[in-house]
């Protein structure tokens, strides 16, 4: 490096640019070593599945696997729907719908958590938004929590009959994936 009194000369410039070039090149060559850990092409390809929902009777629920995640499909009773609709959105812990098919700012009304015309079907990713456990409430004998929906046994989160967080440490409502009704008895998730 140049001595104090002197102006930086051309050699200083060369040192600096060479060092900067080496630093950028070094950082860039790290990227493949980091990016290789991201979901690979095979994982990304398993993007959508079709599910026949005809056998699910009112009050029953099934769990299917989509992208390695459990998806809850619940055929809700009239009472459960009424209970979910009666809630004032302002009172919710998380007031957003968390429905991947809707804008992020959509409110967590029961309507926004389902598909209009098929409100009796509630379809969500069955992973607690706290630390990723599978909430109880799918089987008939399960503990369904204080709000009649789902209860996560790991750290005590309670979800209501629209899968919205009501009590416990979970920060968000259960995620609603993008899905569509191919026919009245068949849905496509993803």
């Amino acid at each position: 490096m140049a001595i104090d009194a002197q102006e930086p000369d051309r050699r200083d410039f060369l040192f600096l640019t060479a060092a900067a070039f080496a630093a950028v090149g070094g950082a860039a060559s790290l990227w493949p070593f980091i990016a290789q850990m991201n979901p690979d092409a095979g994982a990304q390809a398993l993007a959508s599945i079709e599910v026949d929902i005809a056998p699910i009777k009112v009050g029953q629920a099934i769990t299917v696997l989509w992208r390695g995640k459990p998806v809850f499909i619940r055929h809700r009773t009239e009472e459960e729907i009424a209970r979910a609709k009666a809630v004032d959105v302002k009172e919710l812990r998380d007031e957003y719908a968390r429905n991947d098919a809707l804008p992020e700012t959509a409110l967590a009304t029961d309507l926004n958590r389902t598909i209009t015309g098929h409100e009796n079907w509630l379809i969500m990713v069955g992973i607690c938004t706290h630390l990723g456990c599978i909430p109880k409430g799918q089987a008939l004998g399960d503990k369904k929590g204080d709000y009649g929906g789902w209860f996560c046994p790991c750290h005590g989160s309670h979800y209501d009959t629209a899968g919205r967080i009501r009590k416990g440490p979970a920060p968000r409502n259960l995620e609603v994936p993008v899905y569509d009704f191919i026919s009245d008895t068949k849905i496509k998730i993803g």
């Binding site: 850990m37 769990t63 390695g68 995640k69 979970a170």
Partner: protein
């Protein structure tokens, strides 16, 4: 060390030849044979050697287990059962490795509490202490990834819960947490892909620990060992050569500790684990009560004590991160708690707090358990952030002995000690 001149004399022709080319014999002799060791070290000082033993034992048993283990979601569980039933001595090697991890942590906790009690983090040992904390962090990562390998229910759900800790960053920058978690998983959920990378890292991290242990020893041997009085070696009579004095004490302490290791390995190999881990991993069913291994329970209790996801995660990581600042949080000029009448009680309350948090971490997060977890979490942090700075300023320490020799032999004897300088 100023007091320390090596007495190494290479004897054979080969040793002399070597000494002029790669003086590794001289290094070992200087650092581990005639290295000056405080004469008053108690058995708590044998845990450094015990920990070195366990690191080596885990590496050796781990390398041979890796010859039989299959890191895939389909085969991992069965391959562990095969190791236990079919592989020659597999039952023994697997038990030694699994129980060894617990013993490693037990020894590390005793070693850390020893450091806190005798002020071994105080100047000039700050860097020594910080390297120790780093070793502890890498140890925890290694143990966590090792626990995932049997791919039982607890393995799978421990991985799910712990990796999901990072999803809390979604509330800081939107999408950041999810990006990190999917990067860790290599998918949209924990899968065999995750298992594979954890296996790779579980294999390599112990060697990183070994490197850090080298630095830890280097920093230790540069400044010398602390002692129960907290005094440094000031004169020749304060010290004894490491061999045979400290080495024989280490050997005896280690033998006793190995009895405990053997007892668990042979008679209670599964006592420290969880029965649910003998159920193969099932991504559709969460066990009713997820608990980590015993050595992570206090941190798990802290995580669950805080009713916010993000702040729970921050508290849990801070509970370890705060250790890095201990050399500067403690304002006392006296090292050893032996001469600190007030701090001593706060220290024992802290030990009790850690045990209580461990107990609470094993209980479901409801009712009185949560309340107590909050109380003990508050004291855990208060010990570092309030007690350590204030006790040093407010308490009046007891009079320190003039030297290690005086502490051991009494004042008169110290003056008569022939080689006093």
């Amino acid at each position: 060390m100023a007091l320390h001149e090596s007495t190494y004399q290479p004897k054979s022709r080969f040793a002399k030849w070597m000494d002029e080319r790669l003086p590794i014999g001289r290094l070992m002799h200087t650092q581990f044979i005639d290295f000056p060791t405080p004469r008053n070290l108690n058995y708590l000082w044998t845990f450094g050697g015990i920990l070195t033993f366990f690191l080596m034992a885990q590496i050796v048993t781990g390398i041979v287990l890796a010859m039989h283990y299959q890191a895939s979601a389909d085969d991992a569980f069965d391959s562990i059962e095969k190791i236990r039933r079919d592989v020659n001595f597999g039952w023994l090697l697997r038990n030694l490795h699994a129980v060894g991890a617990s013993m490693f942590f037990l020894a590390a906790y005793i070693h850390i509490f020893r450091g806190l009690y005798y002020g071994s983090y105080k100047t000039p040992r700050e860097v020594l202490w910080i390297i120790g904390v780093l070793i502890f962090v890498v140890m925890m990562a290694t143990a966590f990834m090792g626990y995932s390998l049997p791919w039982g229910q607890m393995s799978f759900w421990a991985v799910t819960v712990i990796t999901n800790l990072f999803s809390s960053l979604d509330s800081v920058i939107k999408g950041l947490g999810t990006t990190i978690v999917e990067w860790l998983w290599g998918g949209y959920a924990v899968s065999g892909v995750t298992l594979n990378r954890f296996y790779s890292l579980h294999y390599v991290l112990p060697f990183v620990i070994a490197g850090l242990v080298g630095l830890h020893l280097w920093a230790l041997h540069l400044v010398g060992q602390n002692s129960p009085t907290g005094l440094d070696i000031k004169m020749k009579s304060d010290a004894v050569p490491m061999h045979p004095f400290a080495t024989s004490k280490d050997a005896f302490g280690m033998s006793i500790f190995l009895l405990l290791f053997a007892w668990f390995s042979f008679y209670l190999p599964d006592y420290l684990g969880h029965a649910d881990n003998y159920i193969p991993a099932n991504p559709l069913v969460t066990p009713p009560h997820i608990v980590p291994e015993w050595y992570f329970l206090p941190y798990y209790a802290i995580l669950r004590a805080i009713p916010s996801k993000l702040f729970g995660v921050i508290a849990m990581f801070s509970s370890i991160g705060v250790l890095l600042f201990v050399p500067w949080l403690d304002r006392s000029r006296v090292r050893s708690a032996k001469y600190r009448p007030a701090f001593k009680w706060f220290f024992w309350l802290f030990v009790f707090t850690c045990l209580a948090l461990g107990y609470l971490g094993s209980k479901p997060p409801e009712g009185a358990y949560v309340l107590w977890a909050r109380i003990f979490t508050a004291y855990y942090f208060a010990f570092f952030l309030v007690v350590m700075p204030l006790a040093g300023l407010l308490e009046r320490p007891r009079k320190l002995p003039g030297s290690i020799t005086e502490a051991v032999l009494g004042g008169d004897a110290a003056q008569r000690a022939p080689n006093a300088v």
